[in-house]
C-alpha cells in the first residue's frame, strides 16, 4: 500500500517545494516604478544639537490624511545612524509643543509660522528641543484599479483556490521642508510610485505583491536625508 503511494508522494513533495520556491521568490520581487522630484528653495544644514521632525499632515477639513505608518517609516529610515540626521519622534514633538501642532491648530502654510513662533513659550520650547526643520508629509497610497476573481473551497477532503486577482496601487507623497527659524519653505520633494500586484491561484494562491508604499518611503527618506545634509543631487 505504501509502495504504491510512494511516487505520488515524491511528486507531491517536489510540487510543494517548487511552489514554496515560487512563493518566496514572488514575495521578494515586485514590479514598482518610482519617480522622485526635488525643488530646492534655500540652503540647508544641521549643526550640533539641531534636529528635524517629520509630521504627517492631518489638518482638517481634509478628508484624507497621510498614513501614520508611512510617517513612521520615514522617521525610522531617517533615524538610522547612517543618515547622520537627528530626528525627533513625532508624538514626542506634538506633546512638547501641545497644543500648537494638533490637527485643529497646525500651521497649514509657512506664512502662519511667524505668528505661531511669536508665542513666547512655544518659541522657547522649540529652541530647547533644538528643532530646525519641520518636514510635512502629505499624500497617500490608493488602489487605483483591480480586476479578476478567485474562489476558495474548504471541505473535509481538502482545500484549494482557483482564479486570478490583480490590482494597481499608486503612492503619491510630497514632503515640504520648513525652516522653523526663518519661517520659510526651503524645499519640496515629491515621491510617486506605481506598482501592479497579482495573485494567480491553481489550488495554492501565489501572491506577487508590489511593495509600492515601501518603495515610496525608501526613496523619499533617502532623498530627504541628502536634501537636509545639503548634498548635491
Amino acid at each position: 500500500m505504501s509502495q504504491s503511494h510512494a511516487p505520488s508522494f515524491r511528486l507531491h513533495t517536489r510540487l510543494m517545494s517548487a511552489l514554496a520556491l515560487l512563493f518566496s521568490s514572488a514575495m521578494m520581487t515586485g514590479c514598482v516604478t518610482a519617480t522622485i522630484q526635488e525643488v530646492r528653495q534655500g540652503s540647508t544644514s544641521l549643526g550640533t544639537g539641531e534636529s528635524i521632525v517629520v509630521l504627517g499632515r492631518t489638518t482638517r477639513p481634509t478628508a484624507q490624511q497621510t498614513e501614520g505608518d508611512f510617517v513612521s517609516c520615514i522617521n525610522s529610515d531617517l533615524s538610522r545612524a547612517s543618515s547622520g540626521i537627528g530626528v525627533i519622534d513625532e508624538r514626542a514633538f506634538r506633546d512638547a509643543t501641545f497644543p500648537w501642532f494638533e490637527p485643529r491648530t497646525a500651521p497649514s502654510k509657512t506664512s502662519d509660522l511667524p505668528e505661531l513662533i511669536r508665542q513666547p513659550d512655544l518659541a522657547d520650547r522649540l529652541r530647547e528641543i533644538g528643532v530646525k526643520y519641520v518636514v510635512w508629509i502629505e499624500g497617500s497610497t490608493e488602489r487605483t484599479s483591480s480586476a479578476g476573481s478567485m474562489t476558495c473551497t474548504v471541505s473535509p477532503g481538502g482545500a484549494g483556490c482557483f482564479g486570478f486577482l490583480t490590482w494597481e496601487n499608486d503612492s503619491n507623497y510630497e514632503a515640504s521642508i520648513w525652516d522653523i527659524r526663518t519661517g520659510k519653505t526651503v524645499g519640496k520633494i515629491s515621491s510617486e510610485a506605481v506598482g501592479t500586484s497579482f495573485v494567480p491561484a491553481v489550488v495554492v494562491p501565489l501572491p506577487f505583491i508590489a511593495r509600492v508604499r515601501a518603495s515610496a518611503c525608501g526613496n523619499l527618506s533617502d532623498q530627504l536625508a541628502d536634501f537636509i545634509r545639503g548634498a548635491p543631487t
Binding site: L46, T48, D69, S83, P99, I129
Partner: protein
C-alpha cells in the same frame, strides 16, 4: 467509523464558520483609555487659581452602544478624564487645585471648574465605508465662582479619528483604532479648552474681576512638567 469522523469534521467546520464571525460581530468590544497620557498645554497661564471638581459621572463615564450588525461597543473614557483635566488645568491656570464639592472650594481658589462629558458618538469603518474610526465628544465646562454661582456653562465639542491602516491587521476588532480616535478627540477637546476658554466673554469678565479684586491671593504653582513630556531624540547628530 469513517462516517462518524466525517460527520465530526463537518460539524467542526460548521461550528467554526458560525463562531468565528460571531466573535467579531456579536461580542462586546471593550475600549479603555486607562493608559492615556496627556501633555500640559503650552499656553500663557491665566492668573487665577482654579479648583477642578471631578464628578462621579465624569470619572466613571462609560458609553455602551450596540451597532446593528457590528456588535456591542463599550468605551470607558472615565478613568482618563482625571488625567486629562489635571494636565489641562496645570497648563491653563496659574494655580491648579482639586475641589471635593462645588459649594466648598479649597482656600485660595478663585473658582471651581466642574466639567461634564455629556455626549459621545462614534462610527466604525463598516458603517461609513471609509477606513477611519471617528469619535465625537461634547463637554459642558461649568465654571462656578467661590460663592457657588454659575459663571458659565460652556459647551465644547471635539473630534478625533484614527485610520485602520495605522493599527494593523491584528486589530481586527478595531479596539486599538477606536481607542486612538477617542484619545485624539480628548486631545482635541483640550486644544479647544486651552485656546478658547480665555476668550469666552463671561470668562473674560470673571478673569478681569478676579485679577482686579483678588490680586493679593496666593498663587499656587503647578507641578513641574514631567520628563516624559520631553521629546526623545534619535539618530546621530551632525
Amino acid at each position: 467509523m469513517k462516517q462518524i469522523a466525517r460527520i465530526k469534521s463537518i460539524l467542526l467546520l460548521s461550528i467554526s464558520a458560525l463562531v468565528i464571525p460571531c466573535l467579531s460581530a456579536c461580542g462586546t468590544a471593550n475600549v479603555g483609555l486607562e493608559s492615556s497620557r496627556f501633555p500640559e498645554p503650552l499656553v500663557q497661564r491665566l492668573p487665577v487659581n482654579v479648583a477642578v471638581h471631578y464628578e462621579e459621572a465624569l470619572t466613571s463615564f462609560v458609553h455602551e452602544e450596540e451597532l446593528d450588525g457590528f456588535g456591542t461597543w463599550r468605551l470607558s473614557l472615565g478613568p482618563a478624564q482625571r488625567t486629562m483635566f489635571t494636565a489641562l488645568s496645570n497648563g491653563l491656570f496659574q494655580g491648579s487645585l482639586v475641589a471635593e464639592s462645588i459649594s466648598n472650594p479649597p482656600a485660595g481658589s478663585h473658582g471651581v471648574l466642574a466639567p461634564q462629558l455629556t455626549e459621545l458618538q462614534f462610527s466604525v469603518p463598516r458603517q461609513t465605508r471609509n477606513d477611519v474610526y471617528e469619535v465625537w465628544l461634547k463637554y459642558q465646562m461649568r465654571l462656578f465662582d467661590t460663592d457657588g454661582s454659575l459663571v458659565i456653562d460652556w459647551p465644547v465639542t471635539a473630534y478625533g479619528k484614527a485610520s485602520t491602516h495605522d493599527h494593523g491587521i491584528m486589530d481586527g476588532s478595531g479596539t486599538s483604532a477606536l481607542r486612538a480616535a477617542a484619545d485624539a478627540a480628548m486631545r482635541d477637546a483640550m486644544v479647544v479648552m486651552a485656546l478658547r476658554f480665555r476668550s469666552v466673554p463671561e470668562v473674560r469678565d470673571w478673569l478681569s474681576s478676579n485679577s482686579a479684586g483678588n490680586g493679593g491671593l496666593e498663587v499656587v504653582a503647578p507641578p513641574a512638567p514631567q520628563d516624559s513630556s520631553q521629546p526623545t531624540q534619535s539618530g546621530a547628530e551632525t
